[in-house]
């Protein structure tokens, strides 16, 4: 009988205790963040989407080599003489046209290892984390600031320069050979003397 009454009282009392707890929580401000309109405060050294400031990029390929998942793809073309590519913000002279700078964020593991080797600090983490896509291909970001035609142009320029150089080189070689041949014809003893001297 005593247990019976005690049970009854205990049940009633604990319900009131529980109700007190829930009532107190009504007046505690909600912890909910109204997400798309209110963004949560991210930690200071958050690691999210990468950004490359192409004005500072010298195309040194160090980030691509540091990347553990090979998500950075860089192609560069040497500039031809007379082209001024300007300097980076910390005074380094740029010598290469960057014709490809793709980062595949589907592969990226947000490890930040590419950020540290950069000599000009042009690749860094931003606070953007909402960039979902419907196509995996859309996650490949192209950071190059050159227009597609310009990229082709730069490559062509360099190739032409190479061809020209080759031609010059060939011409120079031909000329040298001709000169040599002419010299040989004019002074046939000289090389012999040389040979003799060497033999001595």
């Amino acid at each position: 009988m005593r247990d019976y009454i005690y049970n009854f009282w205990q049940g009633l009392y604990t319900i009131l205790v529980g109700m007190k707890v829930t009532l107190r929580h009504v007046f505690i401000p909600a912890v909910t963040i109204q997400y798309p309109s209110v963004k949560p405060q991210m930690p200071e050294r958050e690691r999210n989407r990468l950004y490359v400031n192409m004005d500072d990029c010298i195309g040194c390929d160090q980030c691509a080599r540091a990347c553990p998942v090979n998500c950075i793809e860089i192609e560069t073309v040497k500039s031809i003489p007379g082209e001024d590519l300007g300097t980076t913000s910390n005074g380094k002279k740029k010598a290469l046209w960057v014709t490809t700078f793709n980062i595949d964020f589907a592969k990226c593991c947000y490890c930040q290892l590419c950020v540290f080797p950069c000599p000009t600090e042009c690749i860094y983490m931003t606070d953007v984390y909402e960039f979902s896509e419907f196509q995996r291909e859309s996650l490949v970001y192209d950071f190059v600031t050159l227009l597609p035609e310009e990229r082709i142009q730069k490559k062509k320029n360099y190739e032409e320069l190479q061809i020209k150089k080759e031609a010059e080189k060939a011409a120079a070689a031909k000329k040298a050979a001709e000169e040599k041949a002419a010299a040989l014809a004019n002074k046939p003893e000289e090389p012999k003397q040389d040979n003799k001297e060497e033999n001595k």
Partner: protein
């Protein structure tokens, strides 16, 4: 009275009857259900340190309106293996059962469906239709979880009818009336005339009645809470065990009917508690209308007192829902048969003895 007033206004018995019978639905139950569902969601959210619906309108106040529009637009799905007729009849029956109870509930001295003398008995009887509707829904769904829910519901409602009826019997014995209107009129003037504080009686009788009445109020509130299948007595629709019990297979407007019936029932049982123990539509301290001599203001005041009492008890139901975990089936039955019924018998006996003094 509302009916006479409308009869004089329109000159047509049929029209007046029609309006009077529909008035509680459109003036009261639908807006109440909309607000109560919203309140339920907001209250539960804030009790759990959340915010609840926030997108639809300012702080989500239009959420339930949007829900209703969605439910109205939904396709009326009837699963192939169901018993079609019973399946379609069940939500109607459930809603009729809970809506019919409003016929005898006095919203104010002026606005009451019918002033029949058997008010309480009528409510107890007609809400039996809800059990039939729930069982019908569970059976017709041809789904084991629905049937389990419905069986549990029937068992629960039938068990908890007993303490409810015993407390009602106590009140009837004390006051000598079954009419809810007379019951409300009896507890007029000031709050110390409310039955929770011993009723209009004076002297030693009143003092002796106070603890018994408080006990009785607690018992009838608990048992009616069980009758409307709400937490902690929500084993018929136990989400974690039975998906959602008897209305698992329902969608669209039929589901909305069950929902509306549940909320109408919630208010009906709160109203019964308010009428039987807290003076019904009576103000706790006189009327402004009487003081100023504006007799038209009194029914409006009474209506607002009644709704605020009812809504307060509905809010307490919600508060309990988000505080307490669900009963186990054996605990449910033990609580009814081992605690509520003996206590209500003791109250019945003691009140009978006091009434003899």
């Amino acid at each position: 009275m509302m009916y006479d007033w409308l009869y004089n206004l329109t000159g047509s018995e049929l029209l007046a009857m029609f309006i009077v019978s529909l008035l509680p639905l459109f003036v009261f139950i639908l807006p109440f259900a909309l607000l109560a569902v919203l309140a339920e969601r907001k209250v539960s959210a804030h009790m759990q340190d959340r915010l609840g619906p926030m997108r639809t309108g300012y702080h989500g106040i239009l959420q339930t309106v949007a829900d209703i529009i969605k439910l109205l637009q939904k396709e009326d799905l009837v699963p192939t293996a169901t018993d079609k007729m019973l399946f379609n009849l069940a939500p109607l029956l459930t809603f009729i059962g809970s809506y019919a109870a409003f016929a005898v509930i006095p919203f104010s001295g002026f606005f009451i469906g019918t002033k029949i003398d058997l008010g309480i008995i009528f409510i107890v009887g007609i809400t039996g239709l809800v059990v039939a509707g729930i069982l019908m829904a569970g059976w017709a769904s041809n789904n084991k979880y629905s049937l389990l829910g419905a069986m549990r519901s029937a068992a629960q409602i039938i068990s908890y009818e007993i303490p409810t009826l015993l407390i009602i019997l106590t009140i009837v014995m004390l006051t000598g009336t079954l009419s809810l209107y007379d019951l409300s009129e009896m507890q007029t003037a000031y709050f110390w005339n409310w039955l929770i504080l011993g009723g209009p009686a004076v002297g030693i009788q009143k003092i002796l009645l106070i603890p018994l009445m408080m006990m009785g109020c607690l018992i009838i509130y608990t048992s009616t809470l069980a009758e409307v299948n709400r937490t902690p007595f929500d084993i018929p629709e136990a989400e974690s065990e039975l998906v959602s019990g008897y209305h698992t297979e329902y969608s669209g407007m039929k589901f909305a009917m069950f929902f509306l019936a549940e909320y109408a029932n919630m208010f009906a049982v709160s109203a019964i508690v308010a009428i039987m123990f807290f003076g019904g539509y009576q103000s706790p301290f006189g009327y402004l209308g009487n003081t100023l001599g504006w007799s038209w203001l009194v029914p409006i005041e009474q209506f607002s007192w009644f709704t605020s009492k009812g809504v307060f008890f509905v809010l307490v139901q919600m508060w309990l829902r988000w505080t307490l975990p669900r009963f186990r089936v054996d605990q449910l039955m033990a609580f009814c048969w081992k605690y509520l019924i003996p206590f209500s018998f003791v109250i019945l006996l003691l009140v009978g003895l006091i009434a003899l003094i």
